[in-house]
Symmetry: C2
Subunit: 143 residues, 2 copies
DNA sequence: GCAATAATTAGAATAATTCTAAAAAAGGGC
DNA sequence: GCCCTTTTTTAGAATTATTCTAATTATTGC
């Protein structure tokens, strides 16, 4: 429910830089995401956000999430047709979706691997982003 | 609008193998996907399918697509929150989404690269599938 | 051909997300 | 601190892709 000053500064700077205002809702949503980094859906963010801010609306949760994405403070993660999930980890990483437990785990990716993925693109293609999603069974769910 | 005998055989075998019946709708949808391999959405498949089979319903298009996916004759492709797209290319490949033109291009991936992606998973994780989606600018849309 | 089973169909229902327009809050100048 | 302008929040309606439902139709094995 409270944003460490380091993150508060990061948020304010990013908002300022994009000409948007700092509000307690934006701050709160950011803190909710940082607190439990388990890739919650918008509904889950909404439920958690209401604990510390009962009057916040779902529309605002969506608005804040979008603002945080626009300002590159978080990213969104999609698995097939499932509801979008949100992730405050800004490092190069892929996502592993466990079909058993439903858990989503960050998989750190060496820069070199990203480089190889870029290298495999045909002449004339340039990618600004690569999205990598594994699915299978995580360590907790193995026999 | 017509399914090459090679594909017809593949379809029939896959359906038989999963205990499902061969129907003209399933055959038709499969042929629509094979004919123009541009990753159409369900709506686009529906529009194309009606040209040769005006009485087909959208529900059937969805049903057939699901059957084809279940029997591994096609795969589905998702980009962020966009409608699901369908792809009859069963080789190891990633998808490149051009932000400019909206085009979706298959990117063939060497097995070795898939191997490296698997190797990067932590101990105890096993993935049955990796989904790789690039986005950026394709060759046609470059300056 | 006939019964049993599976597939197709139209339309209703669902669910995540986006939109709308009114009310509230922020920030800058005084 | 107060006023004005602009931005943000809010509740609820609207949208859109997809799934569900229940009735009709087609397929298969006998
Ligand atoms: Mn993540
Ligand atoms: Mn493809
Ligand atoms: Zn698991
Ligand atoms: Zn392009």
């Amino acid at each position: 429910m409270n944003l460490a000053p380091e993150y508060k500064a990061r948020l304010d700077e990013a908002l300022e830089h994009s000409g948007q205002r700092s509000t307690k809702q934006r701050e709160h949503i950011f803190s909710v995401l940082l607190e439990k980094r388990d890739h919650p859906t918008a509904d889950e963010v909404y439920a958690r956000a209401r604990e510390g801010m009962p009057s916040i609306s779902l529309a605002t949760v969506y608005n804040c999430l979008e603002t945080l994405i626009e300002t590159s403070l978080i990213r969104q993660v999609n698995f097939e047709r499932e509801p979008t999930r949100y992730c405050p980890n800004l490092t190069n990483h892929a996502h592993f979706y466990c079909r058993e437990s439903g858990e989503i785990v960050d998989i750190e990716l060496p820069d070199e691997l990203i480089g190889q993925l870029m290298a495999v693109l045909p002449e004339g293609f340039s990618a600004s982003h690569i999205d990598i999603a594994y699915d299978g069974k995580c360590n907790c769910c193995h026999d």
